[in-house]
Amino acid sequence: MGTPLDSTAGGRSKLHTTQWGLVAAASAEGAGEARAALEELYRLYSYPVYAFVRRRGYGPHDAQDLTQDFFVHLLEKGALGRADPQRGRFRNFLLGALEHFLAHAAERADAGKRGGGCQWVFLDDDSAENRHQLAAPEGLTAEKLFEARWAAALVEATFARLQGELEAEGKGHLFEALQGFLHGRDDSSYQEVADRLNLSLPALKTTIHRLRGRYRALLREEVARTVAAPEDVDEELRYLRAALRS
């Protein structure tokens, strides 16, 4: 059994390759980066996959096993090699692969293929199930829940990068204090925070404006990693927004 793959460790690679690029790296036989690439995919998308499996009726433990098995399955020869960036959105590829995987899960279990000789550290203990309980709106189909969690994963990745950038500049405290202002708050809150950060009100508003601008750029980058062409970013964003509001 190899070294456990840890989805909770490490940050993002400096080169923010596209998800199709990660797929290519993960599917390259013998490539040294394959493991890191798959770990990155797992870290980003294990929650949407887990939520989908749970909503399909599997219990927490089975869902956890199946989520891990799914990513191992992606590593198997041929599974990722068939992925074609020209086929469009990475979200659709992953959902299609997952549906196919679950349709044949029983056969694989009978054949004793679970695990694939690879042990994963599933996020942080039971956080996936906790998160599922906390944020699995009732009445959503498995597909809609997958899309909701996918969108949340994009936003989470954006927050993580924004926080990382500010911390690298020694401004981590600004992120902590101002992340809530991405949505906007009333003026009294602005004054309160300005006093706490020892900033003037105009300076605070300028800082928030810049924070929103950087968030916007990073979010668009994150979405761009999951689509085939840059011009598809707006359409993908509109699709996800509409899916969440429908």
Binding site: A148, A151, V155, R216, D234
Partner: protein, 174 residues
């Protein structure tokens, strides 16, 4: 788990989307956080199409110049150059259909090829990023012509009630 069950039923007060946990942040509206991908000025302003601002009456309703099968034409201002233009916006009810969008684009391209003193020139074709509504702008002479036509149509019952957008307003944000 009582609290968690309640949390899964919370919805955003602004847009109605279910609230979700994003990392360690509870009760986040992911739909609104996605909305931040677009320029705030554009998303807050339904009468804004790229650098064009639709003109409005004193009561805030948009100035409509005409309407057809594909869309509605409004009076607008190019906010960069400062000149008046006519702005044709695809009907929001059909904007989601790719065939309708292609037909709208073909219409704009055909108009752009025409060069005649009595035919307005097409300046620009665009798609509003936040909701995908297509539009194109054309010359001020057409604005004048359409304005005259609009006045005529008020008496001929040509559907002028300028103030009715295809789906309430120019925006059909989902």
């Amino acid at each position: 788990m009582n609290a968690s069950a309640d949390e899964s039923k919370l919805i955003c007060g602004k847009c109605g989307a279910p609230l979700q946990r994003v990392g360690k942040r509870a009760n986040q509206c992911v739909a609104c956080l996605l909305e931040l991908a677009w320029d705030e000025e554009e998303t807050a302003n339904a009468e804004r199409f790229d650098h064009y601002q639709v003109a409005t009456h004193n009561d805030g309703t948009p100035v409509e110049l005409g309407r057809g099968a594909m869309g509605i034409t409004f009076k607008a201002v190019d906010t960069v150059l400062g000149n008046e233009v006519a702005l044709k916006v695809i009907d929001a009810r059909i904007a989601a259909h790719s065939e309708a969008r292609e037909r709208f684009l073909r219409e704009a391209r055909a108009a752009a090829r025409l060069r005649h003193p009595n035919v307005a020139s097409v300046f620009y074709y665009g798609t509003r990023k936040s909701d995908g509504q297509c539009f194109y702008s054309f010359g001020p002479d057409r604005v004048a012509n359409d304005s005259c036509q609009a006045k005529k149509s008020k008496t001929s019952g040509w559907g002028r009630s300028a103030q009715s957008w295809p789906s309430g307003r120019p925006s059909s944000r989902s």
